[in-house]
Symmetry: C2
Subunit: 437 residues, 2 copies
Amino acid sequence: MRLSRYFIPTLRDNPKEAEIVSHRYMLRAGMVQQTSAGIYAWLPLGLKVMNKIADIVREEQDAMGANEVLMPTIQSADLWKESGRYDDYGAEMLRIQDRGERDMLFGPTNEEMITDIFRTHVGSYKQLPMNLYHIQWKFRDEIRPRFGVMRGREFLMKDGYSFDLTHEDAVIAYQKIFLSYMRTFARMGIKAIPMRADTGPIGGDLSHEFIILADTGESEVFADKKWMEMDTTAPDLSYDDIDGLSEYFKELTNIYAATDEMHKEENAQGVDIVTARGIEVGHIFNFGTKYSDPMKATVQTNDGKQIPVHMGSYGIGVSRLVGGIIEASHDENGIIWPEEIAPFHVGLMNLRFRDDACTKACDDAYAKLQEAGVEVLYDDRDEGAGSKFKNMDLIGLPWQLAIGPKGLEAGTVEFKNRKTGEKMEVSLESALEKIVD
Amino acid sequence: MRLSRYFIPTLRDNPKEAEIVSHRYMLRAGMVQQTSAGIYAWLPLGLKVMNKIADIVREEQDAMGANEVLMPTIQSADLWKESGRYDDYGAEMLRIQDRGERDMLFGPTNEEMITDIFRTHVGSYKQLPMNLYHIQWKFRDEIRPRFGVMRGREFLMKDGYSFDLTHEDAVIAYQKIFLSYMRTFARMGIKAIPMRADTGPIGGDLSHEFIILADTGESEVFADKKWMEMDTTAPDLSYDDIDGLSEYFKELTNIYAATDEMHKEENAQGVDIVTARGIEVGHIFNFGTKYSDPMKATVQTNDGKQIPVHMGSYGIGVSRLVGGIIEASHDENGIIWPEEIAPFHVGLMNLRFRDDACTKACDDAYAKLQEAGVEVLYDDRDEGAGSKFKNMDLIGLPWQLAIGPKGLEAGTVEFKNRKTGEKMEVSLESALEKIVD
């Protein structure tokens, strides 16, 4: 993509309203724009990152055998009255009356609606287990929205729901999700630690939050020091290997990690505890028949009985992750995107726009990178070299490739790794080779 | 995908509430489920088709040089008071008060918000032309939602917006969009006829609707008979070829076609007019400075003056197209998907689940098709052959491949083209060859 044809409205100065680094950098890099308190428009660069995160989430959900659906944002209040949560949810729920004066709401989560879809279509134990998810905008009317997309009011969430015949089967579903979440976050190039968590208004007795550590995290967390050194890449394990799943789950949950609400010193005796700040990026719940009971979502067993289905729900904060990953990966010059979710792989800079030879060399390099299928952002604007370097550091693409008249004479380009800062003067060909690798 | 692991809750009988064929088939094929009046949850099969439609729209927008953004669903009423449309829009607008008693609304369209984004970041003629689009859920509180996803309340729309320095440049932007829309609809395997149209509450003086013909269309349309025989595939024309764009636009708009509101007999004299019913799937507007004037979205010209930017807006009804395409492409047995947007390319049926040799042959064929990168829906359930054939016709995939014990003995499979109905008894290998072609 040529920057001259791309809408990245970067800002030179730090916006006053931004209290934390991810919010600051997202505004400065032209990724988002606030349109109301806690509500954001996603500009091209921000949207590209969010879509890459959503794609990883989707691929890992599909790999686990979950089916993707898409529920609407506007729900009838009737469903929430049936489950008993309509009054419980408080002022965070955005309540709406339509033109027929029916009570509606903007969904903050979808347990009720998915339970209704299930009970409409599924009647037999033979159709279980079932796992449905969607990636859709939610609204929670926070009293004090802040930290940019980290605690916004309208936000993009993946929420998934499992349906099983028995508690034992529901635990297997929970352990599958657990593995898939470890895979999902590792693929994004971040370490998310599963922590025993409170269940809050969703309910149930078994729950974990997936937390990434960052100084600006909203909550205090307590974790065994082992987590800090550990490689959290998940093992090569089939979702059909029930024993393997259970073992992996036990192995990881045996290493102490708890959120503030769940931390008890007596449970952590003899453990080398690290206290840190954390950002919740995922949260999973097993809540049994909390919704299927009042909403009469039953299935027939093989001996003809009708029993309520056992359920769980599983969330990933897709829009929040964009901010969360920046909190965990940046320096004083800007964002440092992990390769897997970087909006582009390489930033190509023309250091002397008005030099025809230089511009021709850049155009050629751009064509070659595109041909090789590399995602490249090409700064082809009539701007000074200094401002281009600054801008590229801010945007945080994994690789930078700068072409100027001096290097061109010597037959070299400047090639930089954004993360390590390592710079090389190499031939264009060897830079291209390294990038395509 | 194995049907045994996929959530397609098909219905045997015609749902009473469905008045038109697309609504009936979408419910019967388990593509959607109504969750409130005019509001639908998209189940896996329906979502897959909608995503394919959205992908084609996106690719053609990007090819034209438009930049994708994503604006939120909830907007502040302040913007609409600024443009003067807040009171005009009437009861179709879903008005909301948040917990701070601020007036908000669920966006029915985004002219105001995009104008606000533009004026925040763009100040110079050098940044023009600019074209931004998003694909996002909208809400219009129809007094009588009906026809399933064709006239729903919550619906998915692509809306794009162009910004130009002069009226002449805005006309070029309009003609680019015109070409891109012809390409977009042709790629979906449908014929959409551009018709001179009324501008309604969006405003402006130049507007076309893109209409597909179907007996169940909501509005009457009048078109030159030439349109019926014409191949509407767009020519191989660069978006940079301004003269070519203008010629193409004139050529097509010179062939008479008008919606009910715009049809005048005196304009169609000597034309062989066909009267038909039509479904609007796209609508484009050039409205000059209607929003930039009151909202003060100005740019500096090269001689230092501040002038309001010239704008246009361009919509495609993404969720509506799912229904519209079914209206235009079906028979008495079910849907007939055009290849480009079919949820799967092939439906593979095991006609004798309890026959091990048959099941093995089906599993092998499934593996081979997947290896070849073919999207295949495999009916591997323990059901009778008759119900499997019926179901596959209803779902409407382009190709059907049925494997039963008799054919297996003879070394053949049954291979059917859903559209033509043509059946062949051929070897599995030659069927696979035909499919992969």
